[in-house]
Structure formats: structure tokens, C-alpha cells
């Protein structure tokens, strides 16, 4: 493999380490506040809709598969239409994720007055801590969504490049390097799902630890 390909790969992994630390700051704060305000976080978590979180997780996992298949198509020297097919499928799944999140989850939360800074009005138990939980929910999923949008932009560029026949079995490293980024965004969600949606448990309400 040529030097630019190796360098590009290494460069992307190093960039992903910076992303680990970037999200890591948020995850660290989350860990601390969850440790200090567990019941409030559990209460807040139960106000989220698990089915959307789970569905979105499946959607994103699917998009990782299609991304891997797009790279595979290039490596195996398939026709460019194969590569474009998988790239577009990845973009559709990514857009589906964002669509579900913004229209069903966030919009719903806004109507329920659960968005801090935008008319937050929760009157149940542990109200201050629940507001803190929702700060984390929106900051973390928002930052994740931002990264997804950037990813969609990158995928668009890749699709255009593929349409112009730029990729081959010898030259596919932009796909590979972008794939690393896309998988990373998937991994962040893999952690966000249980940490945000599954804290409180969905067994009978009132049951505690």
C-alpha cells in the first residue's frame, strides 16, 4: 500500500482520537453528574422513547454495514455503480436517522416542554436534576447529529467522486478514511443509546436500586 494511503489512514485514526477526547469531555461530565444525581437521571431517561432510540441504533448500524460494503465494492474492483449504490444507501440511512431524531424525538420533546433553555417546564420529581439530564441529552445527541451532518456532506463528495469514476481497486483510500469517520460516529451512538435511553430501566416505575 502506498505511503499516502498509509499516512491518510494513520491521520484519520489520530483525528478519531481527538474526537474521542472531544466527546470524551461530554461523556466525562455525564459520568460525574450521573454518579451524583442518579435518581434524577433515571427519571429523565424514562421520559425518552426507547423505541426511537433502538430504531435509530439499528438504522445507524445498517449504515455502517452499507459503508463497509461501499469500500468493499471499490476494493474488489466492482463497477462504480456498485460503489454509488452503497454510498447512497448509507446516506439514506443517515438521513433517516436524523429525520427520526429531529421530527419524532426532538420535536416531541419540545412540545412536551423538555428542552432546557426553550421553555423547559417539568413538574415531576427531581426537577432540577431532570433538567440537567435533558441538557446532556440535547448536548450529546446534538453534537452527534452535527457530526452526522458533516458525515453526510463527506458522503456527498464521495458519491460525486465515485460518479466520476475516481475509485478503483488501487485507489479507494478516501472511501476507507471516510468510512473510519462514519463508523466512529456510529460507535458514539452505540454508547449514547444505553447511556441516555436505558438508565432508568423500563421495568415497573417506582422500582429502585
Amino acid at each position: 500500500m502506498d505511503q499516502q494511503h498509509e499516512a491518510g489512514n494513520l491521520g484519520m485514526w489520530v483525528f478519531l482520537v481527538t474526537e474521542i477526547m472531544f466527546f470524551g469531555g461530554l461523556f466525562a461530565c455525564y459520568t460525574i453528574y450521573r454518579a451524583l444525581h442518579l435518581e434524577a437521571f433515571e427519571t429523565g431517561s424514562r421520559l425518552l422513547e426507547v423505541q426511537f432510540g433502538a430504531a435509530n441504533t439499528a438504522v445507524l448500524i445498517g449504515s455502517s454495514l452499507t459503508m463497509a460494503l461501499a469500500i468493499h465494492a471499490a476494493q474488489a474492483g466492482k463497477r462504480k455503480s456498485h460503489i454509488i449504490f452503497y454510498l447512497i444507501l448509507t446516506m439514506i440511512l443517515g438521513a433517516l436517522f436524523l429525520g427520526l431524531k429531529f421530527t419524532f424525538e426532538w420535536h416531541h420533546d419540545y412540545i412536551e416542554h423538555l428542552v432546557p433553555g426553550f421553555g423547559f417546564a417539568y413538574t415531576g420529581p427531581y426537577a432540577p436534576g431532570v433538567e440537567m439530564f435533558f441538557c446532556f441529552y440535547f448536548f450529546m445527541t446534538g453534537l452527534h447529529a452535527l457530526h452526522m451532518i458533516v458525515g453526510l456532506g463527506v458522503l456527498t463528495v464521495l458519491t460525486i467522486m465515485a460518479a466520476r469514476g475516481r475509485f478503483s481497486a488501487e485507489y479507494y483510500y478516501p472511501l476507507e478514511v471516510s468510512g473510519l469517520y462514519w463508523h466512529f460516529v456510529d460507535i458514539v451512538w452505540i454508547f449514547l443509546f444505553p447511556l441516555l435511553y436505558l438508565i432508568g430501566g423500563r421495568y415497573a416505575m417506582g422500582g429502585g436500586h
Binding site: 498509509e6 494513520l10 489520530v14 477526547m21 469531555g25 461530554l26 460525574i32 433553555g117 441538557c135
Partner: protein, 549 residues
């Protein structure tokens, strides 16, 4: 034996007119759209020099104000803005990029025998990102400034300050990505693009220092990015995770802030230490004493620097048990720095020392950095820190390291590599004079501040008790001398670009791949990629600096 200017090999006029990276293309577009690491280094040099003098101007105003106990110049609110903007600009826009973005960008590919960095376009992007960040910060400076201190502590910064928190925070946030890209570029370049025969333990120690600094760039900067981001959100939304009303902890902001900002001070000093290894060896005509100790201590500093941040928070209400851990680790981090000082000193021992300007800066560094470092131990100790925290002792401590250390190393490096970068020699007589002025001015400015701090004068205060006036006046007098000292190199270095004698490929007869090509180098650095067969700093070898061009 000392070498006077006349003995330094000059280049012939023909050498200065040969095609090199400076004259290969003309026009502003060839500069603003360049991907040549050497030109990008010069773009950075111009930008950070500008920011240095802007930050310096704030310092001048502060020292003028502090001539009188009740303040001689400005209102207290304005004074708060002066020290804040001085800190923000000097730290984020001068010190952190200084050596890595100028000398690092210029020298890393050359020292490893490469034609450019791994990602030349990312390199250009990082400069543009730096410029955008600077514009936001300068805009904030002229539209009201910031008064939170460069440390942005909550809840003052998130809730109560009425100044330009968001523009400055945005400027710092954006510029952070410039650092990250530089660090990423260096790491990949050093791993993947070394010349044949250049094993890790043959690398110049400057490269080890750049590598260690890049580790800190990569692992630390993203954390301050997210912290500033969260601060901005809290300020804009009036709700956030540092807000006690919803169970938030303002001290958590400090944890996140210092997780980066402590390693950041090692970002500021490690490159200077790298420069030191190059200067001390060349001007003692000796190989470095304890090469692997110096190399490993750079890595050790990079790692341990991440474990000590709580020593900035001993008096904030942090748990005393955490304080104990951080205090012990802070003592530990002093050890690799001390190891380096011992190795440089041992290199000097029985060396053939000459006292050109770069060496004067290097010798100044050894003394002043040691003082700064030792005073850090007073602050690492929990009990004494309770007395000294928030006083001028801290101000003196970090200025000894940042100015007496990092800036002097930076100036030494700029002088040392100036012939390589510009193809011209600067007037060494003026340079030595300026180095002495800077040394005297620096000590007169900051040594009284140790005494002021010990006696109890708080930092960041616009007024002070009358009994501290004498020391304050001494400090301000020193600052005026220091200011003059910094202006002198600005003048003669710019002068030398046009009127200085033409330099040959290796005026210092130094070892290193960068000296084996012409001055200034051609755009592609080397006509042929060199093959390395000897150890670093092999000054005993008579084959000195034989140019390959």
C-alpha cells in the same frame, strides 16, 4: 574558542539568487495558496509576531497602570480586561503556536529528510483557521474586551460577566483546531516520512520534542474545545451543565479547563526544550549528553503533564484527597524537566563554547527555566500553595518559564535558523546586545514579582497597598527595558532580510539534515532524499555540514 561574525562562512551572491522556496513563485496568491511548509511557516511567523506585539501592548498598559498603588492609568473594570486579553492572546495566539507553527513547520520535514509534511493542504488550512480565530479575538478586543481572566471561570463567565465572552471563546475554540491539525500532521509525518536510515534514536531531539508536543495537541486540545463549547452554550441558553440551579458544579468547568490548560503549558515549553538541545550541542561543538534520557523525558513530560491539573485548584474547594494525589503527581512531573537541564549542563561541560546570540538565549534559558521550575515546586506543595495561590508569586513563576524559558528559546531558535530560513545573516553584535537587554529587562520585571507574591500582593488586582509600590515600580521599569529589548530583533531581523550578508548553507557548521541543503532551501528541500548513516549531533566527526547542494 569563540567565533566572531567575520569567521562565519558567508555564501556567495550567486547562492542567494539561485532558485529557492522564497523566489520560486511571486505574487500574493502564491503565498496565500501555498502548500509549501516553509512558506506556511513564514505566514505563521508574521501572524504570531503581530499577536505577540498586541499581547505585549496590553502588558505595557498593565505595567504603566501599576506604577501607582491606586492605579495610574485605567478604571478597575478596564484593568480586568487588560490582563484577560493579555493572557488570552499571549497563551492561545502566541505561545501555543509559536515554535511548533513556525520552526516546527519549517524544520520537521527538513530534519527528517522529507520534502514536505504528510498533509500539506491541512497545514495551510490550519493557518487559515488560526487567522479566523485571531480575527474573532481581535474583534472582541476592540468591541469591549473580556474581563473573566484567560481562565474563563464559571459562573462569572457563563452568567455574570457583561463582556465579550462568546467572541473570545469562539476565537479560542476555532484556533484550537489549528493546533490539532498541526499536531496530527507532525505525528503522521514523523512516523511515516523519515529518510532511509533515520531511525528513531538518530532523530534530532527537536523532532522528539515536536512529537511529544503533538501528543499533547492531539489529546488535550479537544477537551478545551468541548469545554469552551459548553461554556458558550450556557452563556447563550442561560442554562447549562455548570449551573448550580440544576445541580451543576462550577468546579467541573475548572477540571475540564485545566485538563487541557496544564498540558498546554508543556506545549509551550517542550518545543523550547527541543530548540535547546539543538543550540547547546552546536555551540559547545559536542554531542548531547544522555540522548535517550532527553528523548524519553520529552515523552514522560507529555504523559505526566496530563496527571497534574488539579494543582491549579487546590484552593477552589476541591477535595483534599484529590489535592493530595495531584500534589504528589506534580512533584513527579518536575523530574523529567530536571533531567533535561542536567543533560544540557553536562553537554556544556568541557565543550568548546562560543557565545553567539543563539547560545546567549540558550544559556539564559537554562538559568531562568530552572528558577521558574523550582518555584513551581513551592506551588506543587499543597500547604505553601495555600499561601501563594492568587498572588504575584504565581505570575512570576509562570513568566519565568514562559518568557524566561519559552520565549528565549523561541528567539534563540529564530536566530539560529534565520540564515537557513532567509538565506541572510543577521548582525550578531546587535543580536547579543538585544539578548542581554532582554535578560536584564526580564529579571528586573519579574524577580520583584516573586517578592511581591510572597509578601501577599494578589494578582489580577487593579490597586494594591502602598507598601508594595517600590517593587511594582521596579517591575514596570524592567518591563520598559524588556519591551525595548524585543523591538531590537524585530528591527534588525527585518533589516537583514534585505541587507544582511548572504549566508552559506551551514554558517554555524551545525549537524543536521537541514544544514545539508542550501540557504534558503529549494522548494523541494533536497535535490535527492538523503540517506542517514550517522548518529545525531556527531560533532566529533570531521565531516561537518558538507552541503549536498
Amino acid at each position: 574558542m569563540s567565533t566572531a561574525v567575520a569567521d562565519i562562512p558567508h555564501g556567495t551572491p550567486a547562492e542567494s539568487s539561485r532558485v529557492n522556496y522564497l523566489n520560486a513563485n511571486y505574487g500574493i496568491r502564491s503565498w496565500l495558496l501555498t502548500t509549501d511548509h516553509k512558506r506556511i511557516a513564514l505566514l505563521y511567523l508574521a501572524s504570531i509576531t503581530l499577536m505577540f506585539f498586541v499581547g505585549g501592548a496590553f502588558a505595557v498598559l498593565m505595567r504603566l497602570h501599576l506604577i501607582e498603588p491606586q492605579g495610574a492609568l485605567v478604571e478597575p473594570d478596564t484593568y480586568n480586561k487588560l490582563f484577560t486579553m493579555h493572557g488570552v492572546i499571549m497563551i492561545f495566539f502566541f505561545l501555543i503556536p509559536s515554535i511548533p507553527a513556525t520552526l516546527g513547520n519549517f524544520l520537521v520535514p527538513m530534519m527528517i529528510g522529507a520534502r514536505d509534511l504528510a498533509f500539506p493542504r491541512l497545514n495551510l488550512l490550519s493557518w487559515y483557521i488560526y487567522i479566523v480565530g485571531s480575527i474573532f479575538t481581535l474583534y472582541a478586543a476592540i468591541t469591549g474586551g473580556l474581563d473573566t481572566g484567560w481562565t474563563f471561570y464559571t459562573p462569572y463567565s457563563s452568567t455574570y460577566s457583561h463582556t465579550q465572552v462568546v467572541p473570545v471563546a469562539l476565537g479560542v475554540f476555532i484556533t484550537g483546531f489549528s493546533s490539532i491539525l498541526t499536531g496530527l500532521n507532525f505525528v503522521v509525518t514523523i512516523h511515516k516520512m523519515r529518510a532511509p536510515g533515520l531511525t528513531w534514536f538518530r532523530l534530532p531531539l527537536f523532532i522528539w520534542a515536536m512529537y511529544a508536543t503533538s501528543i499533547i495537541f492531539i489529546l488535550g486540545t479537544p477537551v478545551i474545545a468541548i469545554t469552551i463549547f459548553l461554556l458558550g452554550l450556557e452563556r447563550l441558553l442561560h442554562i447549562g451543565i455548570f449551573d448550580p440551579a440544576i445541580g451543576g458544579d462550577p468546579i467541573l468547568f475548572q477540571h475540564l479547563f485545566w485538563f487541557y490548560s496544564h498540558p498546554a503549558v508543556y506545549i509551550m515549553i517542550l518545543p523550547g526544550m527541543g530548540v535547546m538541545s539543538e543550540l547547546v550541542t552546536c555551540f559547545s561543538r559536542k554531542r548531547i549528553f544522555g540522548y535517550s534520557f532527553v528523548a524519553f523525558s520529552s515523552m514522560a513530560i507529555a504523559v505526566i503533564s496530563f496527571l497534574v491539573w488539579g494543582h491549579h485548584m487546590f484552593v477552589t474547594g476541591q477535595s483534599i484527597y484529590a489535592g493530595l494525589i495531584f500534589s504528589a503527581l506534580s512533584f513527579l512531573v518536575a523530574i523529567p524537566s530536571a533531567i533535561k537541564v542536567f543533560n544540557w549542563t553536562a553537554t556544556l561541560y568541557k565543550g568548546s563554547i562560543s557565545y553567539q546570540a543563539p547560545m546567549l538565549y540558550a544559556l539564559g534559558f537554562i538559568g531562568l527555566f530552572t528558577m521558574g521550575g523550582l518555584t513551581g515546586l513551592f506551588l506543587a506543595s499543597l500547604a505553601t500553595d495555600v499561601h501563594l495561590n492568587g498572588t504575584y508569586f504565581i505570575v512570576a513563576h509562570f513568566h519565568y518559564i514562559m518568557v524566561g524559558g519559552a520565549v528565549m528559546a523561541y528567539l534563540g531558535g529564530i536566530h539560529f535558523w534565520w540564515p537557513k530560513i532567509t538565506g541572510r545573516l543577521y548582525p550578531d553584535g546587535w543580536a547579543r546586545f538585544a539578548a542581554l537587554i532582554i535578560f536584564v529587562g526580564f529579571n528586573l520585571t519579574f524577580f520583584p514579582q516573586f517578592m511581591l507574591g510572597y509578601l501577599g500582593m494578589p494578582r489580577r488586582y487593579a490597586v494594591y497597598p502602598a507598601e508594595f509600590q517600590v517593587l511594582n515600580v521596579m517591575s514596570s521599569a524592567g518591563a520598559s527595558i524588556l519591551g525595548v529589548g524585543y523591538l531590537i530583533p524585530l528591527i534588525y531581523l527585518i533589516w537583514s532580510m534585505r541587507y544582511g550578508p548572504v549566508a552559506g548553507p551551514n554558517p554555524w557548521k551545525a549537524k543536521g539534515l537541514e544544514w545539508e541543503t542550501s540557504s534558503p532551501p529549494p522548494t523541494e528541500n533536497f535535490e535527492e532524499i538523503p540517506v542517514v548513516t550517522e548518529e545525531a549531533y556527531d560533532y566529533a566527526n570531521p565531516n561537518l555540514g558538507v552541503p549536498r547542494v
